[in-house]
């Protein structure tokens, strides 16, 4: 039975920063195009949740039993960030959740781990990155934020099989960053290029040999890495057909760092024909070469994704809102300290209260009265409508759409990015909840605006990240508008 990739999901945040805006603010030349920017309420964990939701949205069958989360920019140390994703995805308690964090190469590690273990038990790899850098630098300008997830399994849902892999490792100073620093440092780039090239060439030859393929057989080739010069040189050295090179999306979204290999692989899966050979080369502290052969299931998977409202990478990279002021970007990244409102700081959530409400806080499960059907958000034990006690089903509304019943713009509430938009959401099929709305222009909301839920970081207090759900405008989302047709 074949094993391999059964699904994928890509999440790019709503915001784009115009590179010209950096230059305008700092009085320097800063290039053209945009980069993707995680909003003030996003981090690598929430980006990862959104990517994983998209990977699971168009997939039926068993849920993943192991989750590998990779990022060089973890929200927590010591504590497992993958467990937050596990809870937001409502994975069973028996599913494992593991972090691969710290290095850019951890993205390749997650792919390799999930791929190796995926089979009759499904696994999911989540690659997430939020790239920072000092103001005006290349790291800030050329990188981007986003996450990609892949589900591995077996059976007739496999869309691509891993037919070859080879790796090479070398210890040398290419790029490095001390924990807690926002800026990475890099050695003179010609040195890195010289070290990388033979490592890539060696792994490439070995992977092709293992797969019994020639470079000319490769239909789509993607080279991911933050060392731009080594990536370019590697691509030239591979000897693949010119038309096999994937389009570069970095002009609009930047380089996603540890998530970049995932973005390129997803992009390839969205373009490849059945039976195509996809090569993914990851250039980071050595090289990883993955060779994937697509199956006849690929077109059906793509159709399923479209039906679920999931946009391809090409559309995501071309979308987004590109009027984010540079000063606000700097504020979100903590580089510009703004005068806070004269309001008390938020209090950290309590561990026992949070643990008790995991199905609500993590999985966004309402309680629905078995006697009368009334849905309670947050879950209640006593029914508001019929007063039945402890006769509730818990149903997940995270992936159910809704409409704005009413809304307000709160200019007094604490926020890293005021004003807070408060909305009352009526969910399709029942249930009302009042929450924050994000990724929205307050002027564009009207009563009736379609929304979907998104997993966000509400605030951080005493080092505790308070994760919960917010509403955002429906559009590209795992919910789509399918449910909306049932809305009266």
């Amino acid at each position: 039975m074949s094993t391999g990739i059964v699904s994928w999901g890509v999440y790019l945040p709503y915001w784009r920063l115009q590179r010209s805006g950096i230059g305008a603010a700092l009085g320097t030349a800063s290039g053209k195009g945009t980069r993707s920017v995680a909003s003030f309420d996003e981090d690598t964990t929430t980006l990862g949740v959104e990517a994983a939701r998209r990977a699971l949205a168009a997939l039926d069958g068993p849920v993943p039993e192991d989750l590998f989360f990779s990022t060089p920019a973890p929200a927590y140390l010591d504590k497992t960030n993958a467990a937050v994703i596990h809870s937001a995805l409502d994975l069973p308690v028996s599913s494992g959740a593991y972090d691969l964090i710290g290095s850019v190469r951890s993205g390749a590690a997650a792919l390799r781990s999930a791929s190796a273990l995926g089979g009759d038990r499904r696994t999911i790899a989540v690659l997430s990155d939020l790239r920072t850098g000092l103001a005006g630098g290349a790291e800030e300008r050329d990188s981007g934020d986003g996450a990609v997830a892949f589900v591995f399994g077996d059976g007739d849902r496999v869309v691509a099989e891993l037919v070859g892999h080879a790796g090479a490792t070398a210890e040398f100073l290419d790029r490095w960053r001390a924990p807690g620093d926002i800026d990475s440092r890099v050695w003179e780039e010609r040195f890195g290029e010289a070290v990388y090239l033979p490592l890539v060439e060696g792994a490439w030859a070995e992977a092709l040999k293992g797969a019994g393929a020639l470079a000319a057989d490769v239909d789509h080739v993607a080279v991911a890495g933050l060392h731009a010069r080594a990536v370019q040189a590697s691509r030239r050295a591979l000897g693949t057909r010119p038309e096999s090179a994937l389009a570069d999306r970095s002009a609009t979204i930047g380089n996603l760092g540890a998530a970049q290999p995932g973005l390129l692989l997803a992009d390839a899966l969205e373009q490849a024909k059945p039976g195509a050979l996809i090569a993914l080369v990851v250039v980071a502290d050595g090289a990883d070469v993955f060779l994937w052969r697509t199956t006849s299931e690929l077109p059906a998977a793509r159709a399923g994704r479209e039906a679920a409202g999931l946009a391809p990478v090409a559309d995501l990279a071309a979308g987004g809102r590109d009027d984010l002021p540079y000063a606000r970007f700097l504020t979100w990244r903590g580089e510009l300290q703004r005068d806070p409102p004269r309001r008390p700081d938020p209090e950290r959530p309590g561990a026992p209260a949070t643990w008790r409400s995991t199905p609500w806080k993590g999985a966004f499960k309402a309680s629905a009265c078995r006697a009368c059907g009334f849905r309670h958000l947050p879950p209640a034990r006593v029914c508001l409508r019929c007063r039945s006690v402890d006769d509730m089903d818990h149903i997940r509304l995270a992936d159910v759409g809704g409409r704005v019943a009413t809304f307000t713009v709160d200019r007094l509430a604490f926020s890293l990015s005021p004003p807070v938009v408060g909305v009352v959401v009526d969910f399709d099929g029942g249930g009302r909840y009042r929450c924050e709305m994000t990724d929205v222009d307050p002027e564009a909301i009207v009563i009736g605006t379609r929304v979907t839920m998104t997993f966000r970081r509400l605030f951080t207090a005493e080092g505790v990240h308070n994760y919960f759900w917010k509403a955002r405008p429906a559009g590209e989302s795992p919910t789509g508008d399918e449910m909306g047709e049932h809305d009266s």
């Binding site: 004269r342 209090e347 950290r348 807070v420």
Partner: protein, 400 residues
């Protein structure tokens, strides 16, 4: 199920109220002592004559010690109550019941709040440890849902709605301007109100009540004893308090144009007092104008206006100090600010002055001189769709 009420069983025989405002010069202890000493002087009694105390405060102190220590109360019962913005009224209600039960002869209800010492804008408070999922909307944001919902339901255009809200703020500021106890003692022009910076939704800064410090108190005895203390007591006609199931924020059928809790408590109070038509029966009402759309909706929930026409009555001046039914003749929360524990008793204090003809001539309401005798006070605490509501009715004459 019953709510029997204690109509005319107890009476207020003395009241006191501090000046409300940014009382940098007074601590919680000072405010309590000032209100309490004024109140016993008003009733012509001494602290030794009092049998028990009910203290209302949201966050200016815990336990009866908050009152007993500054007043040096000699080993007497002091209950400390909290019920959101109805806290002061709740102290009064429970004190009345204790007297009606016969447990005590003479008691004091007192409320206090010291908000300005926090150093923050708006209300703050300590909350129990939570799971962090509550939407962190402020009070103005929660109440701002009312304005667009009301305007939409009754076809009031945005400009007119702004006029209506501003008219309420203008009226209450005009009333407060002539009240020496108010926090804000200036009239504010409609133009200033309408152009004030937005705080939340359509609410500008002048649509929000102020934040202040203050204290107020009342002395209560059985009705038959009232004339021992004063020639002009106020008899308690009705006391109603309800807490709702908090369904509004989770019930799609709730439309943000009413406070169901207020409707229920008003019906209960009118029944207790034997009132059929509040608009023609009441001389005045002190209502919880925390935000201007709140007062608008209250005019309908309390039965002063038909559904959907409260905004017309507001514009017609029905609730002005010289109107048919003066609402918030003292200036309301708008002019007094809202020291939570004190507000309910401050409202009663205005009834105390107006219904007994003790308000200064320049602000004595005409409805009383025209023969109307009953006053209503109202508080709500919480937010639209999930609140507690209190309604009292008092009057200077016992029923037949």
């Amino acid at each position: 199920m019953s709510s029997n009420g204690i109509r005319d069983k107890v009476a207020i025989v003395g009241m006191g109220c501090t000046r409300f405002g940014e009382r940098w010069d007074k601590g919680v202890d000072d405010l309590l002592i000032d209100a309490a000493t004024d109140t016993i002087a008003s009733a012509g009694v001494s602290f030794d004559d009092l049998d028990a105390y009910w203290l209302g405060t949201l966050g200016s102190g815990n336990s009866g010690l908050t009152l007993s220590k500054p007043l040096k109360i000699d080993y007497k019962p002091v209950s400390r109550l909290e019920n959101f913005c109805a806290t002061g009224s709740e102290a009064f209600r429970n004190a009345c019941y204790a007297v009606a039960s016969g447990a005590y002869d003479l008691v004091m209800a007192i409320g206090v709040e010291k908000l300005k010492d926090s150093g923050f804008s708006g209300l703050t408070g300590t909350r129990p440890v939570t799971d962090g999922t509550d939407a962190a909307l402020t009070a103005p944001a929660a109440f701002s849902f009312l304005a667009p919902a009301y305007a939409d339901k009754y076809g009031v255009d945005a400009e007119t709605m702004k006029q209506v809200m501003s008219r309420i703020a203008w009226k209450n500021h005009a009333n407060g301007a002539v009240n020496p106890r108010a926090q804000f003692r200036k009239e504010v022009s409609m133009e200033t109100i309408m152009n004030s910076p937005l705080i939340a939704g359509q609410l500008g800064i002048f649509d929000c009540s102020g934040v202040s410090d203050g204290s107020a108190a009342a002395i209560i005895c059985r009705a038959e004893d009232a004339h021992r203390y004063t020639d002009s007591p106020l008899f308690v006609k009705a006391l109603s308090f309800v807490a709702g199931p908090g369904g509004g924020p989770i019930d799609p059928s709730y439309d943000y144009t009413t406070f169901l809790e207020v409707v229920r408590s008003a019906e209960d109070a009118y029944r207790q007092a034997g009132i059929d038509d509040p608009r023609s029966s009441l001389a005045m009402a002190e209502v919880h104008d925390c935000f201007t759309p709140t007062e608008l909706v209250l005019m309908e929930d309390l039965g002063f206006s038909e559904r959907g026409v409260g905004w017309k009555d507001v514009l017609a001046g029905t609730f002005d100090r010289d109107g048919e039914l003066p609402v918030n003749p003292d200036g309301g929360l708008k002019s007094f600010g809202h020291p939570i524990g004190a507000s309910g008793l401050r409202m009663l204090f205005e009834c105390w002055l107006q219904l007994r003809g003790e308000a200064p001539a320049e602000r004595q309401i005409a409805s009383v001189t025209a023969g109307r005798k009953l006053g209503l006070t109202h508080n709500l605490g919480g937010a639209p769709g999930e609140c507690v509501s209190f309604v009292s009715i008092v009057g200077p004459e016992p029923s037949d």
